[in-house]
Symmetry: C2
Subunit: 328 residues, 2 copies
């Protein structure tokens, strides 16, 4: 089969092009996929929907898709690639909803931050006639909703595929090409390994950030105004991810319980060690630990996974004018 | 006394101007103060020194001060304002070193992240003839050394003064005006209260970040390469502050032990609560907590203490060209 086509005057790659892509859920991730797919001409038609009428209305105004449908069933009609982009706890219901409306041979995927649970929840409903290939683009911001998305979100980020044994090599190849066309690097692993890796690189950091921001809010002896004013000492960094979507993160922790608790155990052991070093005044142990962690930052910068400029490249205001407080 | 003078053709404020400012220690903070002082004409002469001959050499090349001296004693000679900018554990030795060389009536200050210990260490050596007013500008980046500083570092950040009872109201007013001229907002509180507030807004966040980055480095079952690649899921945010200067942070924890351990206790209680909610699958408790922490982020943005743009304003690469992987 030759998928090579002219779209909007631009030649797109055979394997990354789908005549019809359906996107279910138009939050940060779904709306970013929709924007990127249209901007890059990766689909003949993008059809999208969302469980919320307000979001569908907003998506219409923003022109996020060629067609916005009211139901999941309508959206997946004749689609060659279906990507569900909903909170981790909602995938089972979406799969059940679309199962009998899917075109034979369609690729069905998702963007869930947990893979074993989502794979299980969706596989229970999806027919054997489709190609089910779960995916997780490791990208995002602390903002949510259809206005928060942007086409560049996945550029130079990683997208992890966790195909089941039943997935076809051709389907895996085509989904991989699609994500690569959106700018992502693609890696394949088992759902179980994904859940362990993301527990440390994403889920535990969020849990820790949510915790410390909550701690700061409830302290006696330190006012909330003081916490806000002096947050540039480090605290403000944690508030960004602690501002992420509560529904999404509730579902992540409920659905990746074992791996998160395992990582939490490791973290607690290490925190106990450092606490003991502080209590005993063991400066050498502290210095040794604090020197070691610098190398990880250098590693992340060297592979382009963060901004190399100081302070994440946060903008700085200019100097005040000379002798400003002296003016009449 | 009328301090109003013409400096570099610009009229500067009476109270923020010092004929001679001495800076001891030219790391991120010291070199930023030096740059700002010169850029804004806040001193007739800036004299600076550093314990490291390499740093003094580099400071010379960068033109960080009008004069670089080899010793602390020379630097403070005839200075009207002396600011020591060294790791928290080194202030006692600096005070001892300069005590007999200080001009009568000089203001002596510091920039230490811990105040009670520094106040005690320095006061033990300083003569009664000078005005000792400890200070802490709550600003910084993860970079260290004389090249890392910049004049704008303190703009719209807070500087906390913790004057002893012996400090003169006039001296406090002049040091306040100096920091305001550098762009900072100034607040005054006791050293003890400072240490409690900073334990939650700065010291505990650093300890947590240092811990989790160490945990990720040592895991079995997840490779370091995976930690780096998938760090955009949240982990990379923690690596920035875990890349901060190890000597500085060792000294902070050794010198603010009680307040840090107290905040750590509060954090542990809250983490236990969330851990229990995860273990029991209590989605409502998780959702309620995750919703509450969003408000703190909004508060920080509303007072201009962080970038309002998503993801700290990290730059995003543009979209890949259409059909790039199709080119011959």
């Amino acid at each position: 089969m030759n998928w090579q086509l002219e779209v909007l005057g631009t030649q797109v790659n055979a394997s990354s092009f789908f005549p019809r892509v359906a996107i279910i859920g138009l939050g940060l991730i779904g709306s970013s996929i929709a924007r990127g797919t249209i901007a890059l001409g990766l689909a003949g038609e993008v059809v999208a929907t969302d469980g919320s009428a307000d979001v569908r209305q907003r998506a219409q105004e923003l022109g996020l898709a060629h067609r916005i449908t009211d139901t999941n069933a309508e959206a997946v009609q004749d689609a060659d690639l279906v990507i569900a982009c909903v909170p981790v706890g909602a995938y089972g219901a979406v799969a059940k909803d679309i199962a009998s409306h899917l075109k034979s041979g369609a690729i069905v995927s998702d963007v869930g931050s947990v893979k074993a649970a989502v794979l299980k929840d969706m596989a229970a409903h999806l027919p054997d006639t489709i190609d089910f290939i779960p995916a997780h683009p490791v990208a995002g911001t602390e903002h949510s909703g259809p206005d928060a998305g942007f086409a560049e979100l996945f550029v130079n980020r990683w997208c992890i595929l966790t195909p089941s044994e039943a997935a076809s090599p051709d389907g895996i190849e085509r989904l991989k090409a699609f994500w690569q066309a959106l700018g992502a690097n693609v890696e394949t692993m088992t759902a179980e390994h994904h859940d362990l890796v993301l527990a440390i690189t994403s889920h535990l950091p969020h849990l820790i950030a949510y915790t410390i921001v909550g701690t700061a809010e409830e302290l006696e002896g330190v006012t909330e105004s003081e916490v806000l004013k002096f947050s540039a000492g480090g605290f403000r960094d944690f508030t960004r991810i602690a501002a992420s979507d509560p529904t999404m993160w509730r579902d992540v922790f409920l659905n990746n319980k074992d791996a998160v608790l395992e990582m939490l155990g490791e973290f607690q052991e290490d925190l106990s060690k450092l606490t003991r070093a502080i209590r005993r005044g063991d400066g050498d142990a502290l210095f040794e630990h604090f020197s070691r962690t610098r190398a990880i930052r250098r590693g992340i910068l060297s592979i382009g996974q963060d901004a190399a400029s100081p302070d994440f490249g946060r903008p700085h205001q200019g100097l005040p004018p000379k002798g400003e407080d002296d003016k009449p």
